[in-house]
Symmetry: C2
Subunit: 102 residues, 2 copies
DNA sequence: TCCATAAATCGAGATATTTCGATTTATGGA
DNA sequence: TCCATAAATCGAAATATCTCGATTTATGGA
């Protein structure tokens, strides 16, 4: 977990919102039946919710992935993104360690 | 504590370093005798350590202050900056609340 | 094979941040 | 009052980020 990239990724209100939305699948339209077993949300749904262009959202998801906040899983033509809870926790621990005295 | 400004202020390695240095007064040269009773470090000492121009460091300290990470106290021609531990903790709590599920 | 759809990548203009040196403001001392 | 010092502010150049539309790549279905 690169704290530099992670903070840069968080330095944008929509990217932070996306991380929040991804906490709960029901923030997005229901998955297609053939994707019912998959965790994660496809880029199109995130784009729709974020109200930004497809390329911007794809870029954002790439930044969040590089930062370690999400993982991507490709299924056919779809890429499903979901939060990486372990990495999120370890980022928070690292920031705490850096910011807190003792 | 404005989480937006706070993350922006942290989105710079030298500003994060300054926050770390300020954990311990002994990271800087000893205070002048007439300032011995004061907490905090003057801009000149921080500048020397950061190896950046005076105006840049003054600007950085202003950003850290607006973000709530430090407080400034003027004494004569000197401005002494020190960490605002309470605010730092409440920032960490806010980020945790935003990033963590439940 | 050809087409449609999803997502990634590219290129560019607009905007924001970084960082500087120069100037200004505030203060204290001779 | 005049000068020296500390810090803040200003203006600008260099660099980075944001965001888009257009294009490319990957995949699946007819």
């Amino acid at each position: 977990m690169d704290i530099e990239k992670a903070i840069a990724a968080l330095n944008n209100p929509i990217r932070r919102k996306i991380l929040e939305w991804l906490k709960d699948r029901s923030n997005f339209p229901p998955a297609l039946p053939e994707h019912a077993d998959l965790e994660g949300v496809c880029v199109g749904y995130i784009q729709e919710k974020a109200q930004l262009s497809q390329s911007t959202v794809s870029n954002y998801m790439g930044l969040l992935k590089q930062a370690g906040f999400v993982v991507a899983e490709r299924h056919g033509q779809w890429t499903f993104y979901r939060r990486d809870e372990d990495n999120i926790r370890s980022f928070l621990a690292a920031v705490q360690k850096e910011l807190l005295t003792q």
